[in-house]
């Protein structure tokens, strides 16, 4: 039984990791006041370019770097369109998802059915061998730790660092931030790019670690889940960690329940995280102060500097 619980938690963590990457990036992006619905597209772009790089060079770590970079490039396109050319963020984000789906399929045609060397789990002598706790704390693949580190870093950045406060100021009142003299567009560009970088990493995690292969549309909606996750976490990084484990965990639990023969309908379990999101949305919408505290006030609004 303990073995089953440990194994399930380990599997849950890997399911949560791509969500953590993508959601952390999107959270920073939204905190700066930009809503990027292109997560799914950026993840797919990261997944395919990362896999292609790993397949060509034989180096999975390089693949991850390429995944992150290509995600960031996709985000740059989004940034130019929405921040410089002031196009509608919702429409542009949706277009980015459609574009990413198509581009990744096109690039990926030659890589379907290829194999690469997977990035495996780490094993720290002594520490990883401690019963129960050893594997839970020290037995994951390195990217699980990276995702958690970035998440904690983002949390620190937003609440403690000077630049984090500025980023939030830009997201909450672009006009005042501009009046004080902060470069609103540049800061938003940085946030959008970071979002793309993270989404690319999340996609790369899927094609390089999770299932070491490329398949068309392999993110299978995880970008949308990450988007829901940001709202679920009410724009607080620490809650993203909790939410990602919950969202990722439900899918694993759903399969676990089936394998154990519990007879709970699979569709019902898959529905749960979304119901939770709606409930959270309703709850935070009821409390006006909480919204003001967390949701970026300028989210989705274009900014044009008045001179």
């Amino acid at each position: 039984m303990t073995e089953l619980i440990i194994a399930s938690i380990m599997t849950m963590m890997t399911a949560a990791t791509p969500l953590m990457f993508a959601a952390t990036g999107e959270l920073i992006c939204e905190r700066s006041g930009v809503l990027n619905l292109g997560l799914e597209g950026m993840m797919l772009i990261g997944a395919v370019f990362g896999f292609a790089a790993a397949a060509v060079t034989g180096n999975a770590t390089l693949g991850l770097l390429v995944a992150a970079t290509s995600g960031a490039f996709a985000a740059l396109i989004f940034g130019i369109l929405t921040l410089n050319l002031l196009s509608n963020q919702v429409a542009t984000g949706l277009a980015l998802t459609i574009f990413g789906t198509g581009l990744s399929a096109l690039v990926g045609v030659d890589y379907v059915g290829e194999t690469i060397d997977q990035i495996g789990s780490i094993h720290i002598p002594i520490l990883s061998d401690i019963p129960i706790v050893g594997r839970l704390l020290f037995g994951h693949d390195p990217l699980v730790y990276l995702a958690i580190l970035i998440l904690l870093g983002a949390s620190w950045f937003l609440s403690r660092s000077r630049w984090g406060m500025i980023l939030r100021a830009v997201g909450d009142s672009d006009v005042s931030a501009h009046a004080i003299g902060y470069p609103v567009i540049a800061i938003r560009f940085a946030a959008v790019t970071f979002g793309g970088l993270m989404a690319g990493l999340g996609g790369g995690y899927l094609s390089l670690v999770y299932t070491p292969l490329w398949a068309e549309n392999m993110t299978a909606g995880r970008g949308w889940i990450a988007l829901a996750l940001v709202v679920f976490a009410s724009w607080r990084p620490a809650r993203v960690l909790f939410g990602a484990i919950l969202f990722g965990g439900i899918t694993i639990l759903q399969l676990n329940a089936q394998a154990a023969g519990l007879g709970i309908p699979a569709a019902f379990m898959s529905m749960l995280p979304y119901i939770a999101t709606i409930v959270v949305l309703v709850l935070i919408s009821r409390d006006a102060i909480k919204i003001r505290l967390n949701a970026p006030a300028c989210l989705g609004r274009p900014f044009r500097a008045e001179r």
Binding site: A7, V112, G113, T115, Y210, T211, A215, A220, G261, G263
Partner: protein, 359 residues
């Protein structure tokens, strides 16, 4: 904004239209194929594409083939099939169960075009159906799994609760029971044919729950790769997947559609094509087992003998007595299950399967 909407519409249209790949020229018999996944899945669609290539190789200049990949089951399928019929294809293979109704609908509109629908059960004057007795291979796999498993628990990744899949689970179980009557099979339904992430998740969960052999009725290599990552043995599906997991694959059921496709295409060329239902197994060579690897000699020997018996017809995978989960006698001792209705519409588990069949 207007421009954006325009742009998005164009993109959507591009996304929704399928890439039709063709090697065009006139006066040849045009043969079309509709695929559910990409030919590179190294599973179900790959096997059909290998068969298409065999048609091209064997019949050479007489034919010209076209395939449309990644066609979802449903209204999109009807559009894709009709498109092939409109563009002069005389013979069209629709290679997934869910294309049944779309194929019949299009066939009505194009009475001169011949259709071949895989794994379906509804025929028409110009619609033939064909399938392979994959369950024979699953019976062999069940025996191997029971022989190899130490935990006595097998993980089975199932796609949709349709007769084809249920039959496979039952045959697997019956095979396993000949070696170890107490064998347990844990079943996880993923409700997809092709979603590598989900297939890998299912494999991991089954291994978490103590399964030490993994088998799948889904199309990608994700499950066998997930098993390989944990050093657990598994079976390939639809094609030989040994390349993806050299130390993991025990064997694989290979769908050998090639000879059938060549024969049917030849029949259209000769003008002798007639509708009908073909259900071939190991005997005529439509189901082939990949080499038995990563197992001791005794297991290999047993698998070989069973395969030979199934091929010669000396053994039928569904030989009585067979009981259902409630303990009712479904096939009396000494008899074999009839193709119709029992095997064709199978919607019950044999005794010993540790799962409740979803409705």
């Amino acid at each position: 904004m207007k421009h954006l909407i325009k742009l998005a519409t164009v993109m959507l249209a591009a996304l929704l239209s399928f890439g039709v790949v063709s090697t065009a020229s006139a006066d040849k018999l045009k043969v079309g194929f509709i695929y559910i996944g990409p030919p590179g899945d190294h599973g179900w669609t790959y096997a059909h594409d290998q068969a298409r290539l065999m048609v091209e190789e064997k019949l050479g200049d007489l034919v010209e083939t076209t395939f449309v990949e990644g066609v979802p089951e449903g209204p999109d399928a009807e559009r894709a099939i009709a498109k092939l019929a409109e563009t002069g294809h005389q013979l069209i293979f629709t290679t997934s169960f869910g294309y049944m109704e779309p194929t019949l609908k299009v066939a009505k509109r194009f009475p001169d075009v011949k259709f071949e629908h895989a794994t379906g059960y509804k025929q028409a004057d110009n619609v033939a159906t064909y399938s392979a007795r994959f369950y024979e291979g699953r019976y062999v796999q069940g025996q191997i799994a029971a022989e190899m498993s130490k935990s006595g628990v097998i993980g089975y990744i199932a796609s949709f609760p349709i007769p084809e899949v249920v039959r496979g689970i039952n045959a697997f179980m019956l095979g396993a029971q000949t070696v170890n009557p107490d064998m347990k099979v844990k079943v996880v339904w993923v409700y997809t044919w092709y979603d590598p992430g989900k297939e890998a998740d299912a494999a991991k969960v089954l291994m978490d729950q103590g399964a030490d052999i993994i088998t799948q009725h889904t199309d990608s290599t994700a499950a066998i790769q997930a098993a390989a990552a944990r050093g657990i043995k598994a079976f390939g599906q639809a094609s030989d997947m040994i390349h993806f997991a050299p130390d993991t694959q025990l064997t694989a059921i290979i769908d050998a559609w090639g000879p059938y496709y060549v024969a049917r295409t030849q029949a259209v060329l000769d003008g002798t094509w007639t509708s009908g239902d073909t259900w071939h197994g190991m005997g005529p060579g439509m189901v082939v087992m990949a080499p038995f690897t990563n197992m001791p000699y005794s297991a290999e020997q047993m698998a070989r003998n069973t395969t030979a018996a199934l091929t010669s017809g000396a053994l039928h995978a569904f030989t009585g007595p067979i009981y259902n989960q409630a303990g009712e006698l479904m096939v009396p001792a000494g008899e074999v299950a009839a193709d119709f209705p029992m095997l064709a519409t199978m919607n019950w588990y044999v005794q010993g399967v540790d799962d409740k069949l979803p409705e």
